[in-house]
Amino acid sequence: MNASVNKPKFVYVVYIAATSEKVWQALTDAKLSERYWEGARVESDRKVGSPFALKLKRTDKDIVGTVLEADPPRRLAFTFQPRQIGRAHEAPSRVSFDIEPHQDQVKLTVTHDGFEPGSRVFEEISGGWPFVLSNLKGFTETGRVLSYQDSACAVETAAS
């Protein structure tokens, strides 16, 4: 218990009015993730040991990793390593998504840990996840996404 005190850990819980399958799909489908995940395409076959990547328009900002656990539509865990300069030297951290159904909604818990003390990646993800997960919830419930560039305005409407 005490050993964890100095090891940074990020946990975020959000309830989403949707099925587990729909949330799983949003978290693992490139075309869907691109909409709400700040443009990132999730690329993975969701098999343990396979690569897991968040592909961005600028490849030097990609996040790469390996699938550690996959139990659709309940749990996905993978390693997380940014390629970006200034972060790439850090050891990979670990992300897990846990999806629990609660009647008419699901509880999504995102746990991101395994950081080195003083990790720069930890600071960045602590600011990043609340936006991405807020956006995932809104997108899943309404089909609309938040704008994430300062210059962009108004909530986009899904083109579906």
């Binding site: 819980v13 909604q105 936006f131 807020s134 419930e141 305005c153």
Partner: protein, 153 residues
């Protein structure tokens, strides 16, 4: 430190004014709190109460009221399991986040050392924040009671 603090951030596709209304208007809170509601006398020193019907579950006093950006209240639970605990403090910060969006930060801190309430408020705030966001964006809140397994409706 023996005073743990809970911080939760959620982005909402609505203006700070709309988020403020949803947080502080009794009728609006009833729409997404599944049978509970909040009353706030929106001025420093005013009373705030979290209620189910006439039953007060926790109450406090307004410390800061700066519509639509900041509300800070003391928070004293009235339930037996937390009785005797000193009031803690809850602050809602609502910032404009571009494009008519808001960033809502809920901070709950200043618990007394060993507080039992400090251990459980986080779960509650995450449920409330999720339901508040759904309500503001879609007009329909979430069923908070279905989030708690074994809860009595």
């Amino acid at each position: 430190m023996s005073k743990p603090s809970f911080v939760y951030v959620v982005f909402i596709a609505a203006t700070p004014e709309k988020v403020w209304h949803a947080l502080t208007d009794a009728k609006a809170t009833a729409e997404y709190l599944s049978g509970f509601h909040v009353t706030v006398d929106k001025r420093p020193g005013g009373a705030s109460q979290f209620k189910r019907g006439d039953q007060v579950l926790n109450q406090g006093e307004v410390l800061v009221c700066e519509p639509p950006h900041r509300l800070s209240i003391t928070w004293r639970p009235e339930q037996d399991e937390f009785s005797g605990e000193k009031p803690s403090r809850v602050t809602f910060d609502i910032e404009a986040a571009g494009g008519g969006q808001s960033k809502l930060t809920i901070t709950h801190g200043d618990f007394e050392p060993g507080s039992k309430a400090a251990l459980v408020v986080g779960e509650g705030w995450m449920r409330v924040a999720s339901s508040l966001k759904s309500f503001v964006e879609t007009g329909i809140g979430m069923n908070l009671l279905s989030q708690v397994e074994g809860a009595n409706a």
